[in-house]
């Protein structure tokens, strides 16, 4: 594989995704607005410590925005038969998926940086570790986008099928990842499950970046491992299911 040309192809796909999919109503509502309302309605009447608030909101934002559209690109392209057009061109499955991940990642990174910055400013929090947080946002949005792309491997042409699957995964993950309740306060089984959720490590990372106690580089490293694993798994599964879409 010739890397500069692979990247060029993936970027072309990413630009297409951003233009075609990110303006669509259901995406904005279910992927972006709903989780924010959900989070703020949870907040009402509670007295959340500032560090829990910013890490919970940041985690919620990045998890939902990075997985907002990546799950439905493949079924939509199957239905509209643009997939046939794409696979007729010289582009591999991994280049195509990488493009979808890049688009979703850009959206996830931007739409989580904004609320984190705003809440940080309002609460007057001190960002102790800027670079690790930035790196964490990039890695987490990559990882969650890849997870979204993995969900879309379900060989269907009905976006709502995948939306359903995505919701069934996305909400439980939020509850075990320390978004509402710090992972340390979960019951034993909850804590065990939380270790298998990459979101847990991002939430911890945000907390540490703003001066909370915990390990910075361990959380970053685990996120990176999850990111690589999700990417490889997504490519592997899509290679198997793509022929069923054509």
């Amino acid at each position: 594989m010739h890397y500069p040309s692979s990247l060029r192809k993936s970027i072309a796909i990413a630009r297409k995704d951003l233009r075609v999919y990110y303006g669509k109503g259901p995406v904005v509502i279910f992927g972006i607005l709903l989780p924010f309302f959900f989070f703020f309605s949870f907040l009402i009447g509670r007295n959340m410590p500032p560090l829990s608030l910013i890490s919970g909101l940041g985690g919620m934002a990045i998890w939902f925005t990075a997985t907002s559209i990546s799950p439905v690109i493949a079924p939509m392209e199957t239905r509209t038969r643009t997939l046939e057009r794409l696979v007729s061109m010289p582009i591999s499955v991994s280049e195509m998926l990488m493009g979808d991940i890049l688009a979703s990642m850009a959206v996830g990174a931007v739409l989580s940086t904004i609320p984190i910055s705003i809440i940080g400013a309002i609460l007057n929090l001190n960002l102790v570790h800027f670079f690790p947080l930035a790196l964490g946002i990039v890695m987490a949005s990559f990882c969650f986008s890849a997870i979204g792309v993995l969900m879309s491997a379900l060989p269907t042409d009905t976006p709502s099928d995948v939306m359903m699957l995505a919701l069934l995964i996305k909400f439980p993950v939020v509850f075990v990842s320390g978004v509402f309740i710090p992972a340390g306060n979960l019951p034993g089984w909850g804590r065990l499950i939380s270790r298998f959720s990459p979101l847990t490590y991002f939430v911890k990372l945000v907390r540490v970046s703003f001066g909370g106690t915990g390990q910075l580089w361990v959380n970053l490293g685990i996120l990176a491992l999850f990111a690589i694993f999700s990417l490889l798994l997504a490519v592997f599964v899509h290679k198997r299911t793509l022929p069923k879409r054509l």
């Binding site: 046939e84 057009r85 010289p90 022929p243």
Partner: protein, 308 residues
């Protein structure tokens, strides 16, 4: 080296053989027709040769490059206008062209001119910045063709490029196909329209039920097709016997279908004249008179028989 070679391609769907050991070669510079009725296996064969789906067995090469082994390299050599494919409705015509250009690696400095030229050639330049959503079927198909040419390929695969389009778009597309061939491009053209194959192609492969029935010049295929043309006639008053009609000039075979007679012969026009004269001379009134070409299925069955 042939431009395209198909070697015993086989594709099964749920145990059914949609394509059954299809082999042929297309030489450089040819317009090669791939003719067959709906469901014959044309699209499935085309998708295997262009590396979109994998065959169960057999393979194909594009300028010597094995499509199954090396699909991306093979795809770089060709342009494809798939039968069932769409441009992005939420992108403009230019947006779709740019996407294709970026994937094929057309250098940025040339892309704009190339896109303009192609959109102009397909009559879409004045709509280049409109979203494809508002395009007619013919315009969408022209855009798909323009996209197929963005990498200036030596070989073009067109799967039923004119099916179901308005006359204007059909003519424009056929003219372009001829021009592109004159520029030296090899063209693989799938169609279920005998007349189209006849007018455009140097050679035609006929496929029926997944098997190649014949590969020949359109001229020779036409002769075969002609002998299965017929005139269907019914008379009011008199009860004719088959012998009465058999003597008519140009009639090769006769069948009775209810109260009608079917008269087979290579030149239906001649037969009609004869039938009219016959009715006048014998004092019978013609109630109905139709010429019917062979159905594709009939022709292809006929060709398949001749092969064996």
């Amino acid at each position: 080296m042939s431009a395209i070679e198909s070697r015993k391609l086989v594709k099964e769907f749920d145990g059914l053989r949609a394509v059954d050991e299809v082999s042929f070669r297309v030489e450089e510079g040819e317009i090669f027709g791939f003719l067959g009725p709906n469901g014959a296996g044309k699209t499935t064969t085309t998708r295997m040769i262009t590396g979109v789906i994998k065959p169960n067995s057999g393979t194909a090469t594009i300028e010597g490059i094995d499509v199954v082994q090396n699909p991306t390299a093979a795809k770089e050599k060709i342009g494809i206008a798939p039968e069932e494919a769409n441009a992005y409705l939420d992108l403009t015509a230019r947006g779709n062209m740019n996407l294709a250009g970026e994937i094929y690696g057309v250098p940025g400095s040339q892309l704009r001119n190339k896109v303009d030229d192609l959109l102009a050639a397909f009559g879409l330049l004045d709509r280049s910045d409109s979203k494809v959503k508002g395009f007619s079927k013919g315009m969408k198909q022209r855009l798909i063709l323009a996209m197929a040419l963005i990498n200036d390929p030596g070989i073009l695969f067109l799967d039923e490029p004119t099916a179901g389009l308005d006359v204007e778009s059909q003519r424009l597309i056929k003219d372009r196909i001829k021009e592109l061939n004159e520029e030296g491009k090899t063209i693989f053209l799938t169609t279920h329209d005998i007349a189209e194959a006849d007018r455009l192609c140097d050679r035609v492969a006929v496929i029926n039920r997944g098997k190649i029935a014949a590969i020949d010049s359109p001229e020779r295929l036409k002769t075969t097709i002609k002998s299965t043309q017929s005139v269907l006639v019914s008379f009011s008053s008199k009860n004719f016997q088959p012998e009465d009609l058999r003597v008519l000039e140009g009639v090769e075979e006769i069948e009775k279908e209810g109260d009608k007679w079917r008269l087979y012969g290579p030149e239906p026009g001649k037969i009609i004249e004869e039938v009219v004269n016959f009715a006048r001379d014998e004092g019978g009134e013609i109630l109905s008179l139709n010429t019917t070409g062979p159905s594709l299925e009939e022709t292809f069955t006929h060709l398949t028989k001749n092969q064996n």
